[in-house]
Symmetry: C2
Subunit: 365 residues, 2 copies
């Protein structure tokens, strides 16, 4: 089999740049992947997404399973055709949404039972079902179904329980994944998920188990779910020396500029988060040095400057002023969210591209 | 002075194609002008607007006067710079919104007194004030302040009263316009407004008065305000033989495909309406033969077709399916409104461009 990840160069102790090889094309890393929750990045055309430098779009299995349903998307030719996306797509396992959106979600060894928020139907996602849904959706990278728990006030026995179940479920995911992809010429990549809460020993053990499994990539789950940035950093630092170099490392659901840097400098290759686009739709954007700018603020009423002088995003480079964006947000024009999202995504990609600049050509590394 | 309008060719008895010359560039007619109510077409970047073939964007004086205010827009460099619009812009007089949005708006000979819907302040727009606001906004074409009344159940004496006042106000508009543009090197174009309700004799008389005035263009106001399509057509047919050829004719606030054809075939060069984009944001688009398609309809759940097979708009040409658009509308993703608006605008422009195809080169006409 062709390599999944080609490391181009180590930047310092753990940070690295490289190329992730997927059936939908190569991806330069590190890379930030926006959440196209319901199949597409909210308010942006596929072309606008590409123009920010984004190379992978993530779609949420949970939301698409509920609506319009993976069978309809499959009939319509799969996620790429459905959302008119050229280039790699990734789906998450559905686990995060099940746990975070239904406080009554019930975990058994079989899977997770939850209530459909639209019609109240009782539904169930199992490891096998998650694989089936994701393969029906047709993403190029998919994630094993894991047992996620909130880290704030989590009891050690609950963390351990989720930890063990995640590994048992991973085995079931791998079996089902192989069964379903056996006859595929060009199969998607499967990521196993490292769990273990803030317990460093559990985390290291989990990583060992995942790396010993037949998965293509390593996902770090269960972070950015209530813990502090320092707590997250300690986990990432503990794992950084332990990754094998051949597989991509994906930090799930993490997405401020600060977190992105911490992650990359601890060996992470790819991250996804809804935050840059969700914040943008609520008028919050990043300026130079990660300064948070709330565009609806009165003080921008006559501000002629773009969001960030020197940014090469469509919004800033074309000179849309803070005053105009403020006016658009105040008027409820969705164009404001689009323009702000474009900037925030470009901001994240510029950080990623900044790391890539340190790359020497692969041949001389 | 350079000509304002160059007629290229008569298509049949009254329909014509031509070139409207503005300080921001030439406009091929007939042309449809979307309403950028608050300075920009909702949900569309300026580039997306241009890509539909739209050549003029209209902005609403009333809305921009209230928010952010013409002084702020002037400080920010005018409407074009504010909204990042390259190409001609037109502002309306503010009259239509004053009358339609404040049922207690009070007309005196001086002007119209109304309540600011945001803070309840009493405000007044006079003919002079309308000129001042529009010139501060910096549009390339502006409209005289007229007295508009609803046509349904309008008493003849009210129609006559509004008719007379419109002409008295026009004189005041012209005086103020000249005073303010006197020293301008490249002044905007002023449109006078024909009123008279459904009374054909009043309409003809009004057109005579407007054409005898020192205005650059003829606007037909007070239609599409409650009358039937047939009633509107009768007025347009009555005026069609009476226009002088050197001036552009602008039908205010009219905007279905059917109305566009009736207007153009009765000598109208330009029309504006919020309808194509507003309908689109509410999931209603036009298909072949003006068929109204409501994209949220259950029957499009698995429909792989684009909105209109063969349409060259971004949305249809790129194959965004009705099923995808339905899903996006159901999910509340503003991208749906953007993609639908792009189609509806292109649909209107294709009708306009269809008429232009009948044009022979100006030199041999």
């Amino acid at each position: 089999m062709a390599p999944i990840f080609t490391e181009s160069k180590k930047i310092d102790t753990y940070a690295r740049t490289g190329v992730l090889h997927t059936r939908a094309g190569d991806v330069l890393t590190p890379t930030f992947m926006p959440d196209g929750t319901r199949g597409a990045v909210k308010g942006l055309t596929p072309q606008q997404v590409i123009n920010t430098g984004v190379e992978v779009v993530l779609a949420n299995t949970y939301h698409l399973h509920l609506n319009p349903g993976e069978q309809i998307i499959k009939k319509l030719g799969g996620l790429h055709k459905f959302a008119n996306r050229r280039g790699p797509m990734l789906t998450d396992s559905g686990g995060f949404q099940v746990f975070s959106l239904d406080s009554h979600a019930k975990v058994t060894e079989e899977g997770v039972r939850f209530k459909d928020p639209i019609n109240g139907d009782i539904r169930m996602i199992t490891p096998e079902k998650s694989m089936q849904i994701q393969l029906d959706l047709g993403a190029d990278m998919i994630v094993a179904f894991d047992h996620l728990i909130g880290l704030k006030d989590a009891k050690p026995e609950d963390v351990k329980d989720a930890f063990d179940r995640t590994h048992r479920w991973l085995e079931r995911c791998i079996v089902e994944f192989k069964r379903l992809t056996n006859s595929m010429k060009d199969r998607p990549l499967l990521f196993g998920v490292v769990q273990g809460g803030l317990d460093i020993q559990l985390r290291k053990k989990s990583l060992g188990i995942i790396q010993a499994s037949d998965v293509d990539g390593i996902a770090i789950g269960g972070l950015s779910v209530g813990e502090t940035r320092e707590e997250m950093a300690i986990v990432l630092e503990a794992l950084a020396p332990l990754y094998d170099p051949e597989r991509p490392r994906f930090l799930l659901g993490v997405g401020t500029p600060e977190d992105l840097r911490i992650a990359v400098e601890n060996g992470i290759d790819m991250l996804d988060c809804v935050l840059p686009t969700r914040n943008a739709r609520h008028s919050s954007v990043w300026g130079t040095n990660d300064v948070r700018i709330t565009l609806t603020n009165e003080k921008y009423k006559e501000d002629k400057d773009p969001i960030e002088v020197g940014c090469d995003c469509y919004t800033s480079a074309n000179g849309f002023s803070r005053a105009f964006l403020r006016h658009q947000f105040k008027s409820g024009d969705p164009l404001a969210g689009t323009l702000a999202s474009i900037h925030n995504l470009r901001y994240m990609m510029r950080i990623c591209e900044g790391y890539r600049l340190f790359t020497a050509p692969a041949t001389i590394s």
